[in-house]
Amino acid sequence: MDLATILQVLDSTVRLAIPLLLACLAGLFSERSGIIDIGLEGKMLIAAFFSAAVAFATGSVWLGMLAGIAASMVLSAIHGLASITFRGNQLISGVALNFLASGLTVMIAQVWFSEGGRTPSLMTGGRFSDIALPFAETLRPIPVLGPIYAELISGHSILVYVGFLMVPLTWWVLQRTRFGLRLRAVGEAPEAVDTAGVSVAGLRFAALAIAGLLCGLAGAYLATGLQAGFVREMTAGRGYIALAALIFAKWRPWYALGACLLFGFLQAIALRYQNIDLGAFTVPVQVMDALPYILTVVILAGFVGKAIPPRAGGQPYVKER
């Protein structure tokens, strides 16, 4: 494999990893606060739709992104209402939100645009364009490092950089701020937080709001960064993969980066090398297609071992029975 190909694969890795990463960090905030969130898929999907729809209507990708975030946060709020206020089952609530997003997006799209559950294609201005970092072209001739800078590091949309920035930021918020301390505590021992005089529900809603925001970014990136519009079910199961990555990462931000890059990389590889001809026989495309998933299982079984989730995860906080 030559450098150009490697760079291409890594470039593709980055693009495929970012939506996973944003969703994974969203899940991280939510689950660190004790709320299991299998509705990541739905939040991303609804954000993808609204960001594309509003970006199309206003011609501004930024307004689109805000709309996407808002929509995703509304789903977060419903999740909070069900699982925090009414102490409902968090899993069911998440499943319901996925269904809701899947149905609502296409339905509204059809009512608004009559393009069969799609938004019209976005023109420039309605999309995030790729940013060329300073000197990208000047430095390109430098061997090895030049192309790496110009191809891999430069030339992504702003949300990619935001996504990567979110990793240290998440780490910093969790480990270095008061909010982070309380958030980690509420996912482990809500009664400790409560007796320390801090509102458990407040913290959990805040965590869900952040999760909504991050899923909103992920959806906006899909529809207005990577693509130029919304297509039905365009998240294509990425929310579930993000959830797997989260467990893989043992609910830690830096590990999450690693896990998402790994998933992205495996997918990038699988997309590029279909039908590997081994001489005697050809590896069928289906094997390559399933390879990321097979490898995930292998890695999980071989190297990662037991992942211990936040202790209070999944249970509503009840004081009086």
Partner: protein, 533 residues
């Protein structure tokens, strides 16, 4: 001292559904005193204090702090009013450091760093002032219960509490740790702080409190000055009848050896050796008590014998070797061989809290033929059996359809005991049989254990209550750091000597035994801290 009470509660009532936990309760506690509250399980002590701390909201009643009427809708308000509480079940974040737990909810501004460095300073000062030493960087899950409790006290003091409530603080402590705690409490009192102490142990009430209130069935039945009362009067007030305060038993008639343990060693999942060449024999018709500070291998000894953990060495039951590793080294096989096990932790091991009482009555014995022969279980037989046993053991309420979690701790323990003892096992392993159980129930539980002994069975008893060991055991082995430090007869030893052995000291140095325990505990801590680095 002034005449204004530090705490005054007027007409507090609280119901949980149909259960009236507190009924029109009034109480006054003067500043600079230690006030005890006693009462049977479920009398409403914890509820009352939780109301004072804003954890629950009272249905009716008023609260006055320092003479001023105060609304306490949540814990934040209680903290602001200068109240701190150490709950029966600690409210600590297990995978946080001590420091993080202390500042949680009392941080200074948005960033942690300044709060942490401030807290570090304050903690150091508190440690010096009140002998409250804990490593601020240690993780809670690595600390002993005694130290976790210190963290809870530190949390309250860090928030500058003037009123400190402790709910059954000594239930999980060794005598030395309890002594240490009392020294701290006295120190705090002398500083002018007000302390409310909930306990089941009359000895502690007599030892440390200035005044004491007795609760029964949600009501306050009396408040007296400790000095003018005595244990049997208090016990009678609590239970509403006369109770026996010591174990009544005939001398043991030990027979042939039943359980012979030789060179038993066990290393846990994190690689720490918990048992080191333990050898011990238990004979028919005797109770062997294992004394020791918790965490010195007693729990592991019971786990290995009960089939919950694997080990090396040899164990013979009635002369036959039993497997210590492999598929046959599980609880099911042990039970079939005649080893019954009352685990230390009834809520997480001995019972399934969400199972009905009748389902729990078969737990571990559910393969037994008496509960049906084929694949299907004979639930009718099970329920009949449960009803029977619950009646015999006076489990209240005697309703087999109640879920285990809906029984009080003492009654939960009775269910476990009924299940294990009524099997007529060759060997009974029993851990902390009366932890958190009230006086009335303790009396009953002790009687049942003695009754089994008198049927010629071998009993291995583990307890951190020296009183219990001294009163119940026929022979005492002391464990320290995974070893048996020595064996004594109860008639020929005392708390002081046992305390020394528990601290790993075999011959008596000068000075009090308890100090030596303290010293050695600190030693052990340092070693453990080193291991965690």
């Amino acid at each position: 001292m002034t005449d204004t009470p530090a705490i005054e509660l007027k007409g507090i009532s609280k119901a949980f559904g149909p259960v009236q936990a507190n009924k029109d309760i009034s109480i006054r506690v003067m500043p600079g005193t230690i006030h005890g509250i006693i009462g049977e399980n479920g009398a409403g002590k914890s509820t009352l204090m939780s109301i004072l701390y804003g954890f629950y909201k009272a249905d009716a009643g008023e609260i006055f702090i320092g003479g001023r009427k105060t609304e306490i809708p949540d814990s934040q308000a209680a903290i602001r009013a200068g109240i701190g509480m150490v709950f029966q079940h600690f409210k600590l974040v297990q995978n946080f450091t001590v420091l993080e737990n202390v500042i949680l909810g009392a941080e200074e501004g948005g960033l942690l760093r300044p709060s942490l460095s401030k807290a570090r300073g304050v903690l150091k000062k508190l440690a010096d002032d009140y002998e409250l030493r804990v490593d601020p960087n240690a993780l809670i899950e690595d600390l002993s219960v005694g130290h976790q409790q210190r963290v809870e006290i530190l949390k309250a003091l860090y928030r500058e509490a003037d009123i400190l409530i402790l709910d059954e603080p000594t239930g999980v402590l060794t005598p030395a740790e309890a002594d240490h705690l009392f020294r701290i409490l006295r120190g705090l009192r002398d500083e002018g702080k007000t302390i409310v102490l909930i306990t089941h142990k009359l000895r502690e009430i007599m030892e440390i409190t200035d005044t004491v209130s007795v609760m029964r069935r949600g009501e306050m039945v009396a408040t007296v000055e400790t000095a003018r009362s005595n244990p049997s009067e208090l016990a009678e007030l609590m239970v509403g009848r006369k109770v026996l305060l010591r174990v009544d038993k005939a001398p043991a008639q030990p027979g042939r050896p039943i359980l012979e343990i030789e060179n038993l060693s066990h290393t846990d999942a994190s690689g720490v050796q918990r048992l080191r060449d333990v050898s011990l024999t238990v004979r028919a018709g005797e109770i062997v008590g294992i004394a020791g500070v918790s965490g010195n291998g007693q729990s592991e000894l019971l786990e290995v014998l009960g089939g919950m953990a694997t080990a090396t060495g040899s164990v013979r039951l009635n002369g036959h070797e039993i497997p210590l590793t492999g598929r046959k080294a599980d609880g099911k096989t042990r039970r079939a061989q005649g080893i019954a096990h009352v685990p230390e932790d009834r809520q997480h091991e001995g019972l399934i809290m969400r199972f009905h009482a009748w389902e729990n009555i078969a737990f571990g014995y559910h393969h037994d033929d008496r509960y049906g022969r084929g694949t299907l279980m004979d639930n009718v037989a099970l329920r009949r059996d449960a009803e029977d046993k619950m009646k015999r053991y006076d489990v209240r309420p005697p309703d087999p359809w109640l879920e285990a979690r809906n029984f009080s701790g003492g009654n939960q323990q009775k269910i476990v005991l009924a299940r294990e003892i009524e099997r007529d096992p060759e060997v009974l392993l029993v851990g902390q049989p009366t932890r958190g159980v009230d006086i009335g129930a303790i009396e009953f539980i002790h009687q049942e254990i003695v009754r089994l002994r008198d049927k010629g069975k071998a009993i291995l008893l583990v307890s951190v209550e020296l009183d219990e060991i001294l009163g119940l055991a026929d022979r005492i082995a002391v464990m320290f750091d995974g070893r048996i430090m020595g064996e004594r007869l109860p008639s020929e030893t005392d708390q002081r000597e046992l305390g020394l052995l528990m601290a790993g000291v075999t011959e008596a140095p000068a000075g009090s035994g308890l100090d030596a325990v303290e010293e050695s505990l600190r030693d052990k801590e340092r070693r453990e801290a080193a291991r965690h680095d």
